[in-house]
């Protein structure tokens, strides 16, 4: 029987929601096509993750365990993926689009001599491969693409599909895998500034994005306060991450992360296309900017023209009231 393989991204023992979105899509395609949906966890400690996964409808769960997977490193991950793919010969290998999967997608495709599609927003199976849509030209244009052969390896944008919970009686199969440190050519020296327990930007229901208009400590404090009232993740435009005002991992846009929250609030963001490329799929967009001609207002559902330093204090108070009711 043909299979669809979903790689499950794990961060500090927690499954990334974007992976569950991809798994849910693969489950659906498997049912439609009479295929089997397999979820794959590659981690230093995959068992608890495999248990959690039983809530999400995969037909089978495969795990690979090795201490080398404590941190992301492309060489062992590639080797592990290639081992699994050669063993189960899936029609599709699907990943959530993350910096981790982007790091290996091309190399895995070349290794398997497989067709690959990066960062798709929709995909379906054809007789001979996969048909998909992917945003191009800074997400201004959608291209319809096809990939031929088996497997097709692909990554999916976060927010493209809903997570469907479905209890499954999937068994967990452990795939043997050996890898020792001395096989590593590239070595990890240090991890700098991992975000820890902060809300994951690419998965947040509410995102507050700070732009050039946020000029000083006072502005940052207002952004923090708004985020804490709404239990939101904080992101930033490239101008502010480059200036070192916000951590580089918080950059939203073509170079940084793609977000698709229920609510996006842009604070002092003008709406350059490179930024819009990373947030245009947000459900509700609120923009606060003092320039009435800022391009962000062309896509904002609620465009507030004004000085953020004057708007945010009463806005935060009003939101607190609404929340407490």
């Amino acid at each position: 029987m043909s299979t669809l393989l979903t790689y499950i991204s794990v961060n500090e023992g927690k499954i990334k929601r974007s992976s569950l979105e991809v798994l849910s899509r693969c489950n659906e395609l498997a049912v439609q096509n009479g295929f089997k949906s397999i979820a794959l966890v590659i981690d230093a400690d995959p068992s608890p993750v495999a248990e959690q996964l039983k809530q999400y409808g995969a037909d089978e769960i495969y795990t690979i365990q090795n201490p080398i997977f404590k941190n992301h490193l492309n060489a062992p991950l590639l080797r592990a993926l290639s081992t699994v793919v050669q063993q189960i010969k899936p029609s599709v290998v699907a990943f959530a689009s993350t910096e981790g999967s982007k790091d290996i997608l091309g190399a895995l495709a070349a290794n398997l001599e497989a067709a690959s599609l990066a960062d798709v927003s929709e995909f379906e199976l054809t007789e001979t491969g996969v048909k998909a849509k992917r945003p191009v030209m800074a997400s201004k244009i959608i291209s319809a693409v096809q990939a031929e052969g088996s497997p097709v390896v692909l990554t999916v944008r976060s927010g493209s599909y809903d997570v469907v919970e479905k209890e499954s009686a999937a068994t967990v199969e452990v795939i043997p895998f050996e890898f020792s440190d001395d096989q590593l050519k590239t070595t990890l020296k240090e991890i700098i500034g991992a975000a820890g327990d902060k809300i994951d930007l690419s998965e947040a229901e509410t995102v507050i994005a700070a732009g050039r208009g946020v000029k000083d400590e006072e502005g940052r404090k207002l952004v923090d306060e708004l985020a804490s009232v709404l239990n939101a993740a904080i992101g930033a435009s490239r101008a502010l991450t480059e200036a070192g005002v916000y951590d580089p991992s918080l950059q939203i846009g073509q170079t940084g992360k793609v977000v698709s929250p229920q609510l996006y609030i842009g604070i002092g963001i003008s709406g350059a296309i490179q930024h819009v490329a990373g947030m245009a799929n947000s459900k509700v967009i609120v923009a606060i900017n003092k320039d009435p001609d800022a391009p962000i207002f062309e896509i904002a559902d609620y465009g507030i023209v004004g000085d953020l330093y004057k708007i945010l204090p009463p806005f935060i108070e009003e939101l607190k009231k609404v929340k407490s009711n």
């Binding site: 990066a118 030209m137 997400s139 319809a144 096809q146 004004g306």
Partner: protein, 256 residues
């Protein structure tokens, strides 16, 4: 240290675009050096200035794309190789990588630098495909590079934090535009670029015919993204606006 930098000419995403019968219509005069590749060239120049060495840029593209090689030479690269296409080949990422891999076979180098993706398609596949085809250790999404003996110390932007990796030579690194601000060529650079050597090789001579069989993906058509409608604009008294919008986000949108 010899660096190769793979560069690409791409349409400027800021230029006006049109779609006609599912095809993307662009003004060829608005083609530019891919911003991520420009950062890779810049970083190679910085390393050369500090440690000496040589930089060769490699580009796959039609005749017109030679101007982009000249741009990189004007920035300060020493030489270029133009892997010439007719423009009708419909190459995908894997066939680009195969052609580049054939070009690099037998060549001596310390590191190959690439942009992490091209700004028109944002696929970001070719770099790591090339690394795999050449069996090179690699790192992607670099935001900082430093020479360390024969190796490169790469600061990579990961999902949550940054990773400091040591990549041995020969190796490959794909670069983010968050790494630096690429220099704008000055007049002297532009004049010198005209005398720098550019080698032109037809992709047919690099096994492009064989790569036809490698083309596994194709673009079927393009469509405009459904435009978002601008909503309501609020101007005036901050307290009143704050109250109205907060209420609507709660009652009308149900997102609070």
């Amino acid at each position: 240290m010899k660096f190769y930098v793979c560069i690409k000419q791409v349409p400027d995403v800021n230029a006006p675009l049109q779609i006609k019968d599912g095809q993307l219509i662009q003004d060829a005069d608005r083609n530019i050096l891919n911003a991520y590749d420009a950062s890779a060239v810049e970083e190679a120049l910085v390393m050369k200035e500090a440690h000496g060495g040589e930089i060769e840029v490699v580009l796959i593209g039609p005749e017109k794309a030679k101007e982009t090689i000249r741009k990189a030479l004007a920035m300060g690269a020493d030489s270029g190789s133009h892997l010439l296409t007719t423009g009708d080949e419909n190459l995908d990422s894997f066939s680009y990588a195969k052609i580049l891999a054939n070009f690099f076979k037998g060549k001596e180098y310390k590191f190959i630098l690439c942009g992490k993706q091209s700004q028109d398609t944002d696929a970001g596949l070719t770099g790591t495909m090339l690394a795999e085809l050449l069996s090179l250790p690699y790192a992607t999404n670099a935001v900082g590079l430093e020479v360390s003996g024969e190796n490169l110390l790469v600061k990579r932007q990961g999902d949550t934090g940054q990773e400091l990796l040591e990549v041995p030579s020969p190796g490959l690194v794909t670069c983010s535009n968050d790494m630096n601000d690429p220099r704008i060529p000055n007049l002297k650079g532009i004049m010198q670029s005209k005398r720098k050597p550019v080698d032109t090789i037809s992709i047919a001579d690099l096994g492009a015919d064989d790569t036809k069989e490698c083309v596994k993906t194709a673009v079927l058509s393009y469509e405009e993204k459904p435009a978002r409608q601008a909503g309501k604009k609020y101007e005036g008294e901050p307290d009143e606006i704050a109250r109205q919008v907060a209420q609507l986000l709660d009652t009308a949108e149900n997102v609070i």
